[in-house]
Symmetry: C2
Subunit: 272 residues, 2 copies
């Protein structure tokens, strides 16, 4: 069981991995980054258990320890217990959620590993907003997407804010970073995937007409720039979400949710 | 045309309406609030023109003045021009978007005014997160929702952060606050609307089976608590978005987008 270790001084070196979270380690995935994965709040902490992101330490207030210690019974790791004020000083801001967990980063997976068993995947080009990235994973988990593949120019999905916004689903939905882009799209096509670029631009098919293949890879770009021309040219199909004229596009994570929903709906209908 | 007025001192009283935006006037809609509507960034400022939220003053850097003055030619109002530093001191934080506009708040509308011409509306119970509220309006605008009605316990959709996240669409999509709740739901039903409660709970219909009536009112609750029992009991239909087992619900604005999309898709099919 996680064992409580009381922390009374914010300078205690045992909690260094939780220090200054808003400024330290902003690109944990890059050389020089500490590579740590930080989960915030009971929901996310619970979701880390039994995954490759099993916490090796926690920091939280007494109430959260009492609340979580049942679920943490199989985990022989320290739960650093501190007052809310001490915790705020360590972390660098006041943390409403009252508990943090830290895990290491498992070896990255390759796109190929993820494709064999997948029917629906999301492929992200240059999605560099942590919250959008987190939301896409949350939506992927809810709406039956099997894996996510990121271009090298995406933000780090394991950064703290992505983990939080995803409700911990970045730790659950398998993902990989594509070594080369847009070669990945050719690899997907050879693997039997229909690559569907989501774009508000015409000409393109309405979403519902574009997602009926046996295997579908949705290709999504960052809000604002969208997909690059090179990527658009390398996909099989372009699809749009029918929208009111004159209104700019949906947020990328919202558009992703609509696409994932449509895919799940049609798959459900087909399996009847 | 908007005329430039150079502001060199952050203490200049002419820019008082833009002062300390992150702390002042957090409930502008409540007694004691200033009632101001603040738009941030060129997209939102442009979207204010020709609406009841026409700006009576702007504050921005020189580059934004140059960029906007063509669109502002019919507007005889001051554009307070300041350096980025002076502007940051006035506003209380550094504003990436470089321009703000302020408008008054028009007389509130009543739900009844909005219903006559509407086929699809969104009804929000206790949605108290400004960003979710803004996103719901953005999604409503993009996906053909005619109006939004809010219970009294919702946040103020005209608060700055909602305006920003909505991309200005809170200023375009008609909305009203329901004087009494859940009486509103009865009024909708008498007006010919099928009231559809969106809920992850069972028993409920899959979304696609619940939105085919001539007039539909989607009823949405806040993330976390969801809809109250009283509201659930007062609606005609309960509908869920089919989701992967064991995954918690989507964000409320995302769920709204999926519902609005499904409604638009079925209406489109029906009109063929």
């Amino acid at each position: 069981m996680a064992y409580a270790v009381d922390i009374t001084s914010p300078d205690d070196p045992r909690v260094d991995d939780f220090r200054d979270l808003s400024t330290a380690d902003r690109r944990p995935d890059r050389p020089g980054g500490k590579g740590l994965v930080i989960g915030e709040g009971t929901v996310v902490v619970e979701r880390m258990l039994g995954t490759p992101f099993e916490p090796y330490a926690l920091l939280g207030v007494s109430r959260r320890y009492d609340q979580l210690c049942g679920q943490l019974r199989d985990l022989e790791v320290p739960f650093y217990r501190a007052s809310a004020d001490t915790m705020a000083t360590i972390v660098g801001f006041h943390l409403n959620r009252g508990v943090l967990a830290v895990a290491g980063r498992p070896a990255p997976r390759s796109p190929r590993d993820l494709l064999a068993a997948a029917r629906t995947i999301a492929v992200l080009e240059g999605v560099n907003d942590h919250e959008n990235l987190g939301s896409i994973f949350r939506n992927a988990a809810a709406l039956g997407v099997d894996a996510v593949i990121l271009s090298g120019r995406c933000a780090d999905p394991l950064y703290r804010r992505s983990v939080r916004v995803s409700m911990g689903h970045v730790l659950r939905v398998p993902f990989a970073v594509a070594a080369s882009w847009p070669d990945l799209l050719g690899e997907l096509q050879r693997g039997g995937f229909s690559t569907v670029a989501l774009t508000p631009a015409q000409p393109s098919l309405p979403l519902a007409h574009a997602v009926t293949s046996e295997k579908v890879a949705f290709v999504l770009g960052a809000e604002g720039p969208g997909l690059s021309e090179e990527t658009l040219e390398s996909t099989d199909v372009r699809a749009h979400i029918p929208m009111t004229t004159g209104v700019d596009s949906l947020n990328v994570a919202t558009a992703a949710a609509v696409a994932f929903y449509e895919r799940a709906r049609l798959s459900e209908d087909a399996s009847r």
